[in-house]
């Protein structure tokens, strides 16, 4: 279903450790939502100097008030600072749901869900959908410190197992989510890994999954100007079915990609063998 623009009302906003969790009444978005979708939020109000929407994963949708969406975010800069200042009953302009959601397995397989920081947020509706199909769900959640591990309790309730990691050891194991990955893949007999995390973590997740011969579905985060596929700002090099690398838009062709298809080492560059690279491949077909 096509995305919509909605002027929603803030229903709740609260601080959850290092994050802000905000529930917005946005029926049109809630009813179209699938796990892995994101939404683009207008920030700054009328007469603002901030032109671009901020993209946030949808953490949850609920049927209350015709449909609500929940967002979880940390304050990075001016836009998210403004967002954190919203109060109950303020209105908020959202476009969504955007992007390709996480693909779901046909069979009741074992799924390992890996989240780092606010990257955990979109994993919970995914876990719901997977469990509804009879899949086993295990979690590895991590962050630099305990206050940035999002959703540990809920993961413990939902997951067959839940492994927590922090860089400073303030919660769970000391280290990164990827340190625990081989171990948990083996233990949980995972058939597929789903991950939402910074690019460096996704790279490791994709590599470890490949080494274990299982697919990884990774949700990437690239700076996005439009979120709807018209500006070409959010591209990264991805190998197509035909073996050709293209700079594809993470907003409409992603943000979820098959891990082995993303050329993580070349993110932020134009690989010389990509379609249309300077002095490089110039045609869709042929070398």
């Amino acid at each position: 279903m096509a995305p919509v623009q909605v002027t929603g009302t803030v229903l709740t906003i609260r601080q959850v450790d290092a994050y802000h969790a905000m529930t917005v009444v946005a029926p049109g978005i809630a009813e179209r939502f699938k796990a892995g979708h994101f939404t683009a939020v207008a920030v700054g109000g009328a007469e603002t100097s901030m032109l671009l929407r901020r993209c946030l994963s949808i953490h949850d949708v609920k049927p209350d008030y015709g449909g609500t969406v929940e967002l979880v975010f940390s304050v990075q800069g001016r836009g998210t600072a403004w967002l954190a200042d919203r109060r109950v009953r303020d209105s908020l302009d959202l476009v969504g749901p955007l992007g390709r959601p996480f693909p779901l397995p046909r069979d009741p397989v074992h799924c390992l869900l890996v989240g780092s920081g606010y990257g955990s947020a979109p994993l919970f509706p995914l876990a719901d959908a997977l469990q509804a199909r009879g899949c086993r769900v295990d979690f590895i959640l991590g962050a630099p410190s305990a206050d940035r591990v999002f959703g540990a309790l809920r993961a413990r309730r939902m997951g067959e197992t839940t492994t927590l990691t922090t860089d400073d050891g303030s919660l769970g194991m000391r280290g990164s989510v990827t340190d625990m990955l081989p171990h948990v893949i083996a233990d949980s007999q995972a058939d597929v890994v789903y991950a939402c995390a910074p690019m460096a973590v996704l790279r490791s997740v994709a590599a470890v999954a490949a080494r274990h011969g299982i697919p990884a579905m990774v949700s990437v985060e690239e700076a996005m100007a439009c979120g709807i596929g018209v500006c070409m700002s959010c591209v990264l090099p991805v190998v197509g079915d035909d073996g050709i690398t293209r700079l594809v838009r993470s907003c409409v062709d992603g943000p979820v990609f098959r891990g082995e298809r993303v050329r993580f080492d070349d993110v932020g560059t134009i690989p010389f063998d990509a379609l249309g690279a300077p002095g490089g491949r110039l045609a869709e077909a042929g070398p």
């Binding site: 096509a2 032109l51 100007a225 709807i228 018209v230 379609l275």
Partner: protein, 319 residues
């Protein structure tokens, strides 16, 4: 009575004067998720190049006060894929198409003009002159009246006779008027302005340029005063030449501002990123503003701010 919103690109009539700006609506397909694209005056395509292009490295975008910088670098599928896949989709959806073309030599522009204008459904060709000229050490065609004129005359020669050619100018020049004149003398039926302005941002946290490409193109409301000025100057110098106005249009008031300065239609770019419905909202707002002002035909508003009017400052009543 609601005003007559019909507009013209030279001899080509459009149902209304609100177009997408090149590079800000791709090839129309994405926007059609939000509204029926046949409601647009026209779609101006992302600039089409001969070969596919991967563009420049990321990050390609940085927000600036009331503006943004981009360095997409003309990423696109190339003319062949465009003609095979994108143009047919647009014509099938019943929207006039202005094809923007971009080359790195006069010959490339000529070839693009020939291939593109041979197809049906092309309302006009817009020549993006803000490209580096490989034959002149990467100097932009738009920076030089001679180079711009060479491109436009080659395009005019190779374009089907009934497809008007609009030359898209850059504001990054000492004086835009002589370049506008050179383009018109070389056969351009109309002018588009303005393209993005060369800008840059440095990230004070990484202490490095915000864009991988270093510099980028500034767009959005921040540049509107520059767009209005260029349109004003060129309309004053070449009153009969149709102008596709663009640069920072985000509301009907902004569109009207460009029209009063001399634009006959407006293109909406960056505003689409904020509001996918921007074009149809702006059209509605523009229509209301004209009606409120008792302007019966859009065409009556074009360049209206140029008429000499005595100022009665002391008659103003702000209270």
């Amino acid at each position: 009575m609601s005003p007559d919103m019909r507009a013209r690109l030279a001899h080509v009539e459009l149902a209304n004067p609100v177009l997408t700006a090149s590079g800000c609506a791709a090839f129309g397909r994405e926007l059609s998720q939000f509204f029926d694209v046949s409601r647009l005056g026209a779609v101006v395509t992302k600039s089409v190049t001969l070969a596919p292009r991967a563009g420049r490295p990321t990050p390609r975008v940085a927000e600036t006060p009331s503006g943004m910088l981009n360095s997409v670098g003309l990423q696109g599928p190339g003319v062949e894929a465009f003609l095979r896949r994108d143009l047919p989709w647009l014509t099938a959806h019943g929207v006039p198409v202005v094809v923007s073309i971009a080359g790195s030599s006069v010959a490339e522009y000529a070839e693009l003009a020939r291939r593109v204008s041979a197809e049906s459904g092309v309302a006009a060709v817009e020549v993006n002159l803000s490209c580096p000229n490989v034959e002149d050490r990467g100097r932009r065609f738009a920076s030089d009246a001679g180079a711009a004129s060479d491109v436009v005359s080659a395009v005019r020669t190779h374009c089907r006779f009934d497809v008007p050619v609009f030359a898209k100018l850059s504001a990054d020049v000492t004086d835009v008027v002589p370049i506008a004149k050179a383009c018109v003398d070389a056969g351009a039926e109309g002018l588009s302005m303005i393209n993005t302005i060369l800008g840059m941002a440095v990230d004070v946290d990484t202490m490095r340029p915000s864009l991988a490409g270093g510099t980028g193109g500034l767009s959005g409301p921040a540049v509107r005063p520059v767009a209005v000025r260029c349109i004003w100057q060129v309309y004053a110098a070449l009153p009969g030449v149709p102008i596709i106005g663009m640069g920072g249009v985000a509301t009907g008031r902004d569109a009207l501002e460009l029209i009063l300065a001399g634009a006959c239609v407006v293109s909406v770019g960056t505003a689409i990123f904020h509001d996918p419905y921007a074009c149809i909202r702006i059209l509605r707002e523009l229509e209301e503003l004209l009606e409120q002002r008792g302007v019966e035909r859009l065409s009556d508003a074009i360049g209206l701010a140029h008429r000499a009017l005595p100022r009665h400052r002391t008659e103003e009543n702000h209270l």
